[in-house]
Structures are given as structure tokens and as C-alpha cells.
């Protein structure tokens, strides 16, 4: 396999935290501006995919282990449903808001929406990374 260019490698490594940050931004501001859990999560996941493509999957897998990622993915789903149950515990319907709301236009303005977006974001990001690992590694591990 042809060695990947040093420029790409370095820029990707430098860019990587910023991509994650941007993903986090999109996730946390999903209720205020375009974006949201899924979009942010995809950016999150594609950062990992980019790293995997550039550095090689083996190296990336050492940093972000598949086990860990799928654990986060499953935990995210479970948490989502638990947050949903929160509405029931607060005496209202499933998924209804049970957190206090902040001022309009600020991050905590939507109550539990932020939490839901966060769980979705982590789930999608890690899920996409897991899908990527599985597809790349298909056949080599068996």
C-alpha cells in the first residue's frame, strides 16, 4: 500500500479535535440552529473515519476501541429510553419535558432536549464508527 502523504497525516491529526468539537457544537445546539443529534453525530463519526482512513484502521482502533464504541452506542440508547422514562416519573407522558427550561435562545432552553440530542449524537457517532470498522475489517479477522 502506498504510504500516505505526511501533509495529510499531520493536518488530519491537527484537525481531528476541531472536528470533534464541531460535532459537539452541532449536537449541543441542535435545538437552536440547524443541526442536532444525528448531524453532529455523523460529523463525530466521520472524524473517526477520517482518522481511520489516514492513519490506518489498526492504529485508530487502538485509540478508539470497537468494544468501547459499541458500549457507548448501547449505553446511549439505554440512556435515551431512561430519559424518556423520566417524563413518566415526573408525572407526565413518556418523553415529555421534565427538566426546568432556561431562557429562549440559550443552550439550556429546551430542557431535556439537550440530553436527548447528546445521547443521540454519541450513539450515531460511535455507531457509524463501528459500522466503518466492521466493513473495513470484514474478512480479515475471520
Amino acid at each position: 500500500m502506498k504510504q500516505i502523504s505526511q501533509v495529510v497525516l499531520i493536518i488530519t491529526r491537527k484537525l481531528f479535535p476541531f472536528m470533534l468539537l464541531y460535532g459537539c457544537y452541532l449536537i449541543s445546539h441542535g435545538h437552536l440552529s440547524p443541526g442536532g443529534g444525528f448531524q453532529g453525530g455523523v460529523i463525530f463519526g466521520s472524524a473517526i473515519i477520517l482518522l481511520g482512513l489516514v492513519e490506518g484502521v489498526a492504529l485508530t482502533e487502538k485509540r478508539f476501541r470497537e468494544n468501547l464504541l459499541s458500549f457507548i452506542k448501547n449505553l446511549g440508547m439505554v440512556t435515551f429510553i431512561v430519559i424518556g422514562f423520566g417524563g413518566i416519573l415526573a408525572g407526565s407522558y413518556f418523553l415529555s419535558d421534565w427538566l426546568p427550561k432556561g431562557a429562549v435562545g440559550t443552550v439550556p432552553s429546551a430542557g431535556q432536549m439537550l440530553l436527548l440530542n447528546l445521547t443521540i449524537g454519541f450513539m450515531v457517532g460511535t455507531g457509524i464508527a463501528v459500522v466503518f470498522y466492521r466493513m473495513i475489517n470484514y474478512g480479515s479477522k475471520e
Binding site: L32, F38, M135
Partner: protein, 111 residues
């Protein structure tokens, strides 16, 4: 309202997708056509919520003409589903190639 808008383009691309899925014998191309169909329906649905001269559905300063936000929210789900289906279809296509060493539908009949 012109003839060329999201709705008509959506319908035309659905037909293109159907044409492709019926004529292409390559499994990967079939998955691609499926995705084309899916995307064009999404385009169609989003265009339904479009209002001429309206803004994105973000409330910033009081009353203003907004596009219908519901199709956008729904189509996000559809995009996710399309992603899942496409990745699953491609994964299966890879596996079919490994097991049968062909991805031609006609050659796959006998296997």
C-alpha cells in the same frame, strides 16, 4: 410556480431510480438506485413543505413566514433509514461477492 421544482424533480428521479433498479444487473448499482429512489422521495417530501419566500424554521424574532418544519424533521429520519439500508445492502453485496464470486443477478439465479 415553475414546472421545474422539487416535486417534479423528485418524481423524475424516482422514475430514474426505478429504471435503474429494473435494468441494472449489478447488485451494487441496484443498491445505488435504491438510494436514488430514497433521496428523491426525500426531495419530494421536503419540497412539499417549501413556501416561496419563507425562511428556515428557526424562531429568532417573532412572526415571520416559515417553511413547514415537519417534513424536514421527518426526512431526517428517512435519511437515517436510507443510510442504514444502504450500508446493510452494500455489506450484503460484499458478502454475496465473497460467497458466490459474482454480483450479477442473472448469474445468481442458479446459485
Amino acid at each position: 410556480m415553475t414546472i421545474i421544482n422539487g416535486l417534479t424533480i423528485g418524481i423524475i428521479t424516482i422514475l430514474i431510480g426505478i429504471y435503474g433498479i429494473l435494468t441494472k444487473r449489478n447488485l451494487i448499482k441496484m443498491v445505488m438506485c435504491l438510494y436514488i429512489m430514497n433521496s428523491s422521495v426525500i426531495l419530494f417530501f421536503i419540497s412539499l413543505g417549501y413556501r416561496s419566500g419563507a425562511q428556515a424554521a428557526i424562531v429568532e424574532n417573532g412572526d415571520q413566514l416559515m417553511v413547514d418544519p415537519l417534513p424536514q424533521a421527518l426526512m431526517l429520519t428517512s435519511i437515517v433509514i436510507g443510510l442504514v439500508i444502504t450500508s446493510l445492502g452494500l455489506a450484503l453485496a460484499i458478502k454475496i461477492y465473497k460467497e458466490h464470486s459474482t454480483i450479477n443477478t442473472k448469474r445468481l439465479i442458479e446459485k
